[in-house]
């Protein structure tokens, strides 16, 4: 075989076959025992390690019939050396909400992938999909057919709704302020067409976190971040608070001292929280899960626009609806999403994420277009510059009347 691995040797990669952390090299080697694709993948990777450069060509468009997304085409740029990875496409399979599995369904996926692909996977991709790593174009359709028969479907890719994801929420967390799994599943089902058939200026991601701890990092990587929160007072079990104190937790310093709102007081006996000032950051609850709980009037804060830096610089999502009740059929949030898509699809430039779009047209104009009233909750602070596009003014003659638009 080629330089990079004379007679299949991979001296560089072999060094990663040891060490305390589970080795991806061992995984590839293990699959290579059954699948020649993986043998060539190893070889090509060894070559990359020798030359300090990747050997994949810029992806071509491949996919399954009737879908615009879900498959990432990939071809080696050294097919002569590694013919088995001439095609090495990945399929994105929409995972079950919060990544819960029966071993049965997992085995089913393994069996399908053993028949049609490399046998390698990512559990999971950054967006949350099951990534089936490496197959040939002609295998895509058969794989898809078997997967759908078993109840699995493809995830998103390209300029469509991307596979929504959610935190473990009510399934295993005491702090979930709404049903993250159910919302995630519901949105995914409601927007199947938008997910499989790219029709937007660019990708659109939903991520559902049950509380402000944001265990799916929604604020950093979702065009729509749905973060659970509450409106009323934090529930306090004073006795349990005392217990924490007795067990040696320094409540004054470590809890109150870290409260960003400086709204807590601990006199050694009772913990007092000024809930009007509390910013619902979760810290005190995190520190004393047995004593404190989010309030009872629960819902979610809807935020828009986070994304990676390409091309205007990274963005965090920002508040668009400070508090929304989250109950089936989730009509309010679905309507909001569709109003946003209408405006964005109409006026957004190609490859302009919704967050970038808002910056370009201006939040005020955007709000008018999606029919949401401006609110001080949407800003960290009002504008600092005096460059205001005043729209109202008087015409000659109407001094005494109201202003025109």
């Amino acid at each position: 075989m080629a330089d990079g691995n004379p007679n299949g040797k991979t001296p560089k990669l072999d060094q990663l076959d040891k060490g305390p952390w589970p080795s991806f090299v061992r995984e590839i080697k293990r699959a290579a025992e059954h699948n020649p694709m993986c043998k060539d993948l190893l070889g090509q990777l060894e070559l990359s390690y020798e030359e300090n450069i990747g050997h994949w060509k810029h992806g071509g468009i491949v996919g399954v019939f009737g879908y615009g997304g879900g498959v990432i085409g990939r071809y080696t740029d050294v097919p002569d050396k590694f013919p088995e990875v001439a095609h090495f496409h990945t399929m994105r399979i929409n995972m079950p909400a919060a990544w819960f599995y029966t071993t049965e369904s997992l085995r089913t996926i393994c069996d399908i992938w053993e028949r049609h692909g490399s046998g390698l996977t990512n559990m999971h991709g950054s967006t949350g999909d099951i990534i089936l790593l490496g197959t040939r174009t002609e295998e895509l359709e058969p794989t898809f057919e078997e997967l759908t028969k078993e109840g699995f479907d493809l995830g998103g890719s390209g300029s469509d709704v991307r596979t929504p994801s959610c935190c473990v929420g009510p399934a295993r967390c005491e702090w979930a302020c709404y049903d993250t799994l159910d919302l995630c599943y519901d949105l995914t089902m409601e927007f199947q067409d938008e997910l499989h058939r790219p029709a937007f200026p660019y990708k659109f991601k939903f991520k559902c976190a049950g509380c402000p701890n944001d265990c799916v990092a929604s604020v950093a990587r979702a065009d729509m971040s749905i973060i659970g929160t509450w409106k009323d007072d934090i529930q306090i079990d004073q006795a349990a608070v005392k217990e924490y104190a007795e067990q040696g937790l320094n409540i004054e310093r470590d809890v109150c001292g870290n409260c960003p709102a400086k709204c807590m007081e601990w006199d050694g006996n009772t913990l007092d929280i000024d809930n009007k000032t509390c910013v619902r950051c979760m810290h005190c609850i995190n520190a004393m899960p047995k004593a404190l709980r989010p309030g009872k009037e629960r819902g979610a804060c809807i935020m828009l626009g986070s994304k990676a830096p390409i091309v205007e610089g990274a963005q965090l999502s920002s508040v668009i609806i400070p508090f929304m009740k989250m109950e089936p059929p989730y009509q309010e949030i679905k309507d909001l999403a569709e109003r946003i898509w209408d405006v964005w699809s109409e006026d957004g430039k190609s490859r302009e994420r919704v967050g970038e779009f808002i910056q370009r047209v201006g939040m005020g104009n955007f709000l008018e277009a999606i029919e949401v009233e401006p609110s001080p909750y949407m800003v960290a602070h009002p504008r600092e510059n005096p460059y205001i596009f005043y729209e109202e003014y008087f015409e000659e003659g109407d001094e005494d009347e109201d202003e025109d638009e």
Partner: protein, 358 residues
């Protein structure tokens, strides 16, 4: 066959099909959780039921053969249920406390480290790298493997000041969404795109390419009769957005591609609002298979933080308290021109007050 006969748009399986009975029964009725030992969570429900979660580290890139091994364990200890976390760890869900230790022993025999729970270092969110992406400026899996080898003991412990989240992205597209991590490892290019004038005309849309450049470095240009583009190298900051839309403008460069290190980001709202990561080290070489420079730098930063941060203080919160001059002093990292922002919002990152620590 015709699409009508095919199943499409069925979406993912309903989550309830995949929830273990104890979760179904106590769904939304959990009261509190505890961490009895590293890598283990106990969640107690209103009903009094207790759910034990054992978390194991995963390479994320897994063969179906290993997945089947994991399924065997889940069948044996968890009645056939398991889950993965948002950071790609594996969680075994037990109802029988006595099975925890045997499970952990088996996992360790199979070389799966148990940990990542509580105030600790969890798995590294990462991306494809040389395994599967055309855009990668470094490998993902290899760097992650080396860094986690070095930090594995910290994954297994729970005695760090707070959570420490590391993420890696192999190019500026940042699929790992590393931009809000306590420590981010980011693959970077340092040379402008090499324009292949023979291919640009045929495979790229010139207007798209030109408008793809955030710094307007790309101009349309006639090259021996054909429409192509030229790049003003002084304006290029190597973002590779042009390459994403035009395969004939590759930035990959074995000599100059490498890794940058970023620190102090977070996404949770706990205490401090979410923060972006900030540049710590502009460039470290790609040095496979071990990437010693990267491992050393990351380890050093982790150790300085672990030794100096107060309880609950995430990396960024700690640095905010001690100030950036002290961070550079303690880590021994040199502050350079590259650290000072010169993109759109540059001025806002300047020190606009006389709040100084000497």
């Amino acid at each position: 066959m015709s699409p009508t006969e095919r199943l499409t748009d069925i979406g993912p399986p309903h989550y309830q099909k995949h929830l273990p009975p104890i979760v179904k029964e106590n769904y939304g009725k959990w009261l509190y959780h505890e961490i009895p030992r590293p890598g283990v969570l106990v969640h107690t429900a209103e009903s009094g039921d207790k759910l034990y979660s054992v978390r194991a580290g995963s390479p994320r890139l897994m063969s179906i053969y290993t997945i089947r091994d994991i399924c065997d364990l889940a069948d044996k200890y968890c009645d056939g249920y398991l889950r993965f976390t948002s950071r790609n760890n594996i969680e075994f869900l037990l109802t029988d406390e006595s099975k925890i230790n045997p499970l952990i022993e088996e996992l360790e025999k199979m070389d799966f480290p148990v940990g990542g729970v509580g105030n600790t270092i969890s798995n590294i969110v990462h991306t494809q790298g040389w395994i599967h992406c055309h855009s990668a400026a470094t490998d993902a899996s290899g760097v992650v493997k080396n860094v986690m080898d070095a930090l594995c003991d910290k994954f297994k412990s729970t005695d760090l000041p707070g959570k420490l989240r590391i993420a890696l992205a192999c190019c500026l597209n940042m699929c790992g969404a590393v931009h809000c991590s306590d420590i981010a490892i980011l693959g970077i290019h340092r040379r402008p795109p090499k324009v292949d004038h023979t291919r640009v005309p045929s495979i790229c849309e010139i207007p798209t390419v030109v408008s793809a450049c955030p710094t307007a470095a790309i101009r349309p240009e006639q090259v021996d009769g054909k429409q192509s583009v030229s790049v003003n190298e002084d304006l290029c900051m190597f973002c590779a957005n042009c390459y994403t839309v035009c395969p004939a403008m590759t930035l990959n460069d074995p000599l100059n591609d490498g890794v940058s290190i970023w620190v102090g980001g977070k996404v949770s709202n706990a205490r401090h609002e979410p923060m972006f990561s900030k540049l710590a080290v502009p460039f470290l070489p790609n040095n496979p298979p071990m990437w010693p420079e990267v491992v050393e730098t990351v380890t050093k930063i982790v150790e300085v933080w672990a030794a100096n941060a107060r309880k609950y203080e995430r990396m960024g919160e700690w640095i905010e308290r001690i100030g950036w001059p002290r961070f550079f002093e303690l880590t021994g990292i040199e502050f350079q021109k590259e650290h000072i922002d010169d993109f759109k919002y540059a001025g806002l990152s300047f020190k606009r007050s006389a709040h100084l620590r000497f």
